[in-house]
């Protein structure tokens, strides 16, 4: 590892150290409990019957044979969803939204993608459930599918939703369309900016749908008790989000839904949507028994969220000094079968790395006959960066300008206003670019034929949102930290570290536990690089609350005013009487006899953003005979603000790069002409294996975030943003042809050559 670059001045005791993770032993010994491990008395197994067609009218569903099949306890269809029996009048303005949400869970009149749930069965065993599901007779009228944004935007394209009208810059259009919305950001005067430019370059790009590829398939166990209490155990990044959407779709009080997040085998944004939970709940209500439903890998690919495929156009105007004067960007993102692609985020990230005075960004959210897209690390940003950074690279090539130098000349810094409005506070892009330029990797010349180097930058917002933490003091001087943030990348450790630092106690003395939605205040998803930032903040505030109460208690014991007591590094002492001194541990022992235990609590919703940036350098070699790309060397530089746990920051950076490499080189949803995914297994959906990767070098830059007590910015999203463009540019230099479509798999590169 190259040495990290620490620019913040504060020295910490616990923060910034590489502590052991609290969940490590359970995970390496196989004792950690995942959703598939859930066992309950009388548990039934569920199976979802899914549409074999990408686009079809559902004429009828006959479940009678399945219902009478021995061992079957319940069969459900969309008719069992509350929406089916609610009228438009009853729902009012909620009608359209609830319709889409309900139809996503179980199709009613139309199947909108292959894998769309049609019905589900709960039975004594998995085999019986599968057999019974096969007995359900569904009559379809198959329709032609619209599979890409380009196809779906054609005027004569098959319509997915008869009642979907384009939200055209906020106004509803009058003709139904597959374009769910058109949004735009604009700043300055585009035409003027283009006039000022000496060079203008416009290019068009396409990227394929890709999946997050988490190792653990979706799973959900539900028990709907006769008193109306609904308990759910599942693999999710956001138990509170699952609670909200289950309560919404099932029209059940939020307070009667308890979601217990089990350990999670990866999510990357793909485990936020409630796919199986409402189905398991309906099956449980109907059967009176707990029901577990699991997805197979094929179901995961076909029916959980990929990141959108895209069609993009970028035009940049640049002066001969290498200053960007204008940017005109068109982004059309696949939403999947229901509206809601991250095109808005893509648009907001597209130019965030640069100070661009004149810009227009148009974004289109387009429905197609594919599974509904879901978040995937920095949703929308990698695709947009692929387009923008590739054009910058080509301009640098044409102008003979160093790509890092070019980016430094245009880099966003404190005070720069983004195209969509916000003004940056202190950020670390310049420091990242400088660290990249000074890195051995960048200084080492790349020699040899068929080789190329690529550089790209990337951005993610890192917003806060709500988090809650409770901290209770134990008699032995340790504390229990209760949180609602599912631990995906080591957040138990990074949150415990912030609590320990604040309390002035040892890291090992903080015991973090992730709990269910009944046991802690509202906590947003583990995602968007928010957890170490916002839940960490909640831990700091809960710890401050504990400190306040500890000071009050010791003041009472010493019979002295609170103002006379100070709390420094875990020691309580009297400001003027040196005899009066007590450690956190000593006081903890006395709590129960002096007024009872102490619990600190907090609910936070930090405003502002952490604003993360990264700069990546990659060297590749392309086999001229086969078009196969080998990654020779990869370096990722990123501003973490403060790396609370440097190993996990490095892990996030490397993980993001690996997924970016997959996205750039081989991963794609491959559909036949009927819209059926042909490669719904890890054999043919080609994520990189260990043998496909070099050691990924990381450099953490620390420019403290002024908006967080310890300077945290959040780190998980940024590292997947630059790889697509960096690799695309590296291959372009290696083969002498621009790469404007991803994946750049061997066949595609061979064709380009």
């Amino acid at each position: 590892m190259a040495s990290n670059i620490v620019l913040s001045e504060v020295e910490y005791n616990v923060v910034g150290k590489r502590h052991l993770r609290p969940d490590g032993v359970d995970k390496v010994t196989g004792r950690a409990q995942y959703g598939a491990d859930v066992q309950l008395t009388g548990l039934l197994q569920g199976k979802v019957l899914r549409s074999p067609h990408a686009h079809a009218l559902i004429k009828s569903i006959d479940t009678s044979a399945a219902e009478t099949y021995p061992g079957v306890h319940a069969v459900v269809t969309a008719a069992d969803l509350p929406f089916a029996s609610l009228s438009r009048e009853e729902l009012g303005g909620e009608y359209q939204r609830l319709k889409l949400a309900s139809n996503h869970v179980l199709a009613s009149d139309k199947a909108l993608f292959k894998g769309h749930p049609i019905a589900a069965v709960a039975a004594e065993s998995q085999h019986v459930a599968e057999e019974a599901a096969r007995l359900i007779r569904v009559e379809y009228e198959v329709l032609p599918p619209a599979m890409t944004v380009r196809q779906a935007m054609e005027s004569d394209a098959p319509l997915l939703h008869e009642d979907l009208f384009t939200s055209e810059l906020g106004e509803l259009s009058d003709k139904p369309s597959n374009v769910a919305s058109h949004m735009a950001f604009e700043t300055g005067d585009l035409d003027e900016g283009l006039k000022q430019a000496d060079v203008a370059l416009e290019r068009e790009f396409e990227t394929a749908s890709v999946h997050q590829g988490y190792i653990e398939p979706h799973n959900s166990t539900a028990f709907w008790n006769t008193d109306g209490q609904l308990n759910i155990w599942c693999s999710t990044q956001g138990p509170f989000v699952v609670r909200t959407s289950v309560a919404d779709i099932l029209r059940h009080p939020v307070s009667r839904v308890k979601v217990t997040p089990m350990e999670i085998g990866g999510g990357f944004g793909g485990k936020i949507t409630a796919y199986l939970e409402p189905i398991a709940a309906l099956l449980s209500r109907k059967s009176g028994r707990p029901v577990k439903v699991l997805m197979t890998r094929t179901e995961v690919f076909e029916a959980s969220g990929p990141a959108p495929g895209t069609w993009m156009k970028v035009k940049l105007g640049v002066t001969s000094e290498g200053k960007i004067t204008a940017a005109d960007i068109f982004l059309a993102f696949e939403a999947g079968a229901f509206p809601g692609s991250p095109v808005m985020q893509g648009a907001a990230c597209a130019l965030a790395c640069y100070d661009v005075p004149n810009a227009r960004i148009n974004g289109y959210d387009v429905v197609v006959n594919k599974p509904k897209t879901a978040a995937y690390r920095a949703p929308g940003s990698p695709q947009a960066a692929f387009a923008v950074e590739s054009v910058i690279d080509e301009i640098c090539e044409q102008m003979g300008m160093d790509p890092v130098e070019f980016r430094l000349r245009n880099a966003s810094r404190e005070g720069v206003r983004r195209v969509e409005g916000p003004i940056f506070r202190r950020i670390g892009l310049v420091e990242c670019l400088e660290a990249a330029r000074n890195h051995d990797h960048y200084k080492a010349p790349l020699e040899g034929p068929n080789r190329g180097r690529g550089v790209a930058a990337g951005f993610w917002f890192n917003r806060g949102f709500q988090s809650a933490v409770n901290i209770s003091v134990n008699p032995d001087g340790t504390v229990n930290l209760i949180e609602g943030s599912v631990d995906i990348g080591g957040s138990r450790a990074s949150i415990a570290q912030q609590a320990a630092e604040t309390l002035g106690i040892a890291y090992e003395d903080v015991k973090p536990t992730v709990v269910d939605t009944d046991s802690i205040g509202y906590t947003m998803v583990t995602g968007g690089s928010r957890t170490t930032f916002a839940t960490g903040w909640a831990a700091i505030e809960a710890a401050e609350d504990v400190k306040t109460q500890m000071v009050e208690r010791v003041a009472r014991i010493w019979d002295t005013p609170v103002e006379d007591v100070q709390y420094i590094d875990g020691i309580l002492s009297h400001k003027s009487d040196p005899e009066l001194r007590m450690s956190f541990r000593e006081l903890a022992r006395q709590l129960l006899g002096t007024g009872g235990g102490i619990t600190g609590a907090s609910n936070v919703d930090p405003s502002g953003e952490g604003n993360g940036f990264g700069v990546h350098i990659v060297d590749v070699e392309v086999d001229p005979d086969t078009g196969k790309t080998t990654i020779l060397r990869y370096t990722a530089v990123q501003d973490a603000g403060k790396a609370i746990h440097p190993s996990y920051v490095e892990g996030q950076m490397q993980g993001g790069v690996v997924q970016g490499i997959g996205w750039a080189l081989n991963e794609e949803y491959f559909f036949n002409d009927q819209g059926h995914m042909m490669n719904s297994s890890f054999l043919d959906y080609r994520m990189p294996t260990a043998l496909d990767l070099p050691m990924i070098d990381t450099v953490i830059v620390e420019v403290a975030n002024p908006g967080h007590p310890y300077g945290v910015r959040g780190v998980g999203e940024v590292p997947i943003v630059p790889p697509l463009a960096a690799i695309g540019s590296a291959i372009s230099h290696a083969v002498g042809r621009r790469i404007d479509r991803l994946p750049a798999n061997p066949g595609a590169v061979l064709e380009a050559m």
Partner: protein
């Protein structure tokens, strides 16, 4: 998925009886790396699974300099490349045994299973064809021998009749100045299915400058593995040269009749046959000359 019976015979006779008792509803099990995946995924069904791992003849490797190599049909790949005789005399087989799947898969997967599964992309088949391998089959009505190039009849189909078993594969002893090599092209570096594969075996004269004979076989470019006889025969008697190799590559490309699918296009696959034929011939020549 329904209930399946399972039996573990100890002799060839017992195995054949078991297979015959259920006709085409019986499936032999060697490493199971194809069969179990297919049963679980619903792509094959069976009433009886006959485990072959306890029949001695199916789990032996024997080599005699005169008669060559016999590989028991259920012998896993790792035992092939761990075997000193195989490593010394059949590097072309080792190429294949050490790239199938991964270390874990190689601990189970057998050449016999690879052959009987009869996938067009099977990595063990082209080098066996190139080396002139023969399949030894037994069934209720006796035993027979089939050259490996005639074994597969379609994707997942082969000459085995219901009740028949592959017992072993015979590979002739290597001729003097001979060498072989197998390469496949995959977009990643492991855990992938060949977009195209080529196995080449050459026999050179004592000078190492002329081809005596050659055999070339292709994977993933037709419904079955392809024995490109024309490509190999074109080399016989010619001096070793880039032109001769180029001509063989061209003929091999002519024998490739691939389809376009998610793993590759027709154009890409034919092109790759050319690339891999050149590369495997060059590697085989080096081996024949003892340069590697």
């Amino acid at each position: 998925m329904e209930a399946i019976e399972f039996t573990t015979p100890k002799t060839i006779d017992e195995a054949v009886q078991a297979m015959a008792s259920k006709g085409d509803r019986a499936r032999a099990l060697a490493g199971g790396t194809d069969l179990l995946v297919q049963l679980r995924g619903g792509r094959r069904s069976a009433d009886l699974v006959v485990d072959l791992k306890e029949v001695p003849e199916l789990n032996e490797i024997s080599y005699r300099p005169g008669s060559g190599l016999t590989i028991g049909a259920a012998t896993p790949c790792y035992r092939l490349y761990a075997n000193a005789d195989v490593a010394a005399n059949y590097p072309g087989l080792v190429d294949s045994a050490s790239l199938i799947g991964s270390i874990q898969i190689q601990g189970r997967a057998s050449f016999g299973g690879n052959l009987c599964n009869s996938a067009p992309s099977a990595d063990a088949i082209p080098p066996m064809i190139a080396l002139g391998a023969v399949a030894n089959i037994v069934g209720p009505s006796g035993s027979r021998q089939v050259p490996v190039e005639d074994f597969c009849t379609g994707p997942g189909r082969n000459v085995l009749e219901p009740g028949e078993l592959l017992v072993s594969i015979n590979i002739p002893a290597p001729a003097a100045n001979s060498g072989a090599n197998y390469l496949r092209f995959i977009p990643r570096n492991e855990m992938d299915i060949a977009v195209a594969g080529v196995g080449s075996a050459v026999v050179l004269d004592a000078s190492g400058q002329n081809f005596v004979s050659a055999r070339i076989a292709l994977a993933s470019v037709a419904p079955t593995p392809v024995f490109s006889k024309a490509a190999g025969d074109s080399l016989a008697g010619k001096a070793v040269s880039d032109e001769a190799i180029e001509e063989a590559a061209r003929l091999a490309m002519e024998d490739a009749k691939p389809i376009t699918d998610m793993r590759g296009t027709i154009r890409q696959r034919i092109h790759l046959v050319g690339v891999l034929t050149r590369r495997t011939l060059n590697n085989a020549i080096k081996r024949a000359r003892g340069e590697e």
